[in-house]
């Protein structure tokens, strides 16, 4: 920036004063550099940005799910988004007679798989749970042990 001012001020001697003023104005860049940014409040972003700013403070960065995101020790923090199988395939009726479908949500020990592992949404998990219990009562699924 000092290089720029020198050649301009050199040839025009009578204009040196106003040019130097402008040069000064140019040199003193930091304040007038970004005219569109008012005094340091960062309100130039749309107001919708504020809440997301807070959200990023609450959760670890979603940029690295499972890997660099969970370095605090919570490995299971942000595993890849599991979708609810029933919502995706639009299965409305979860029937207790459909033991093959129900058997997918039952562990080896016969226990019902929790929602955080299977990725099922809450209303479907409730219906699924009722259906599994009904199936257990009618001996389509076991209460405990391997499902034959």
């Amino acid at each position: 920036m000092a290089d720029e001012t020198k050649p301009t001020s050199a040839p025009a001697a009578p204009d040196a004063a106003p040019e130097r003023a402008s040069a000064d104005a140019v040199v003193v860049r930091p304040t007038g550099d970004r005219p569109d940014r008012p005094s340091g409040d960062r309100p130039d972003r749309p107001s919708g940005d504020r809440p997301s700013g807070d959200r990023s403070d609450r959760r670890p960065r979603p940029g690295g799910p499972g890997g660099p995101g969970g370095r605090e020790g919570g490995r299971k923090y942000f595993r890849r988004k599991k979708v609810c199988k029933f919502c995706v395939e639009k299965i409305d009726a979860i029937d207790y007679k459909d033991y093959r479908l129900l058997g997918q949500f039952v562990a080896e020990s016969g226990k019902i798989v929790p929602r955080r592992l299977s990725g099922v949404c809450t209303p479907h998990q409730r219906r699924l749970s009722t259906a599994i219990k009904q199936a257990r009562n009618i001996a389509l699924l076991p209460f405990a042990g391997r499902a034959s």
């Binding site: 409305d92 007679k97 001996a139 076991p142």
Partner: protein, 133 residues
């Protein structure tokens, strides 16, 4: 006003076919005499049980679709409890669930009609208005 039920019961595997038929017809007459209707009978065949029931490892599954009042189910279950070949039964009330499924289906059909707009402009004009509003 009538409720719909699904009554599933398991019969011991060493029972003869005609005895099973007799049992089902007995139940059907009981339903009719108590003011209900049998919507359907489904014999699901012999299946391996998930656990031992009264020392049996297999059983013949039968499903009855019934429409009637609650007292009818009391009567049927009483009969099933005393009948010797039946080893397990389960009654599930289905009318509320059917109502919910129909409602969901109706909403979904309304959505489907709304999306092909050039095909049905009148319906598309009528339906999205209550849906989106």
């Amino acid at each position: 006003m009538n409720r719909t039920y699904e009554l599933m019961f398991i019969v011991r595997p060493d029972m003869a076919e005609e005895d099973l038929g007799k049992l089902i017809s007995t139940l059907e007459t009981a339903v009719a005499s108590n003011g209900g209707t049998v919507k359907g009978v489904e014999r699901m065949g012999k299946r391996r049980l998930a656990y031992t029931v009264r020392k049996f490892h297999d059983g013949v599954y039968v499903l009855l679709l019934i429409e009637g009042k609650g007292d009818l189910i009391h009567e049927l279950e009483r009969r099933l409890r005393v009948s010797e070949p039946v080893i397990k039964f389960l009654t599930v009330r289905t009318d509320e669930e059917q109502k919910r499924l129909e409602k969901v289906k109706k909403i979904r059909d309304a959505h489907r009609k709304a999306t092909p707009a050039p095909a049905a402009p009148a319906e598309a004009g009528a339906e999205p208005a209550p849906v989106s509003a």
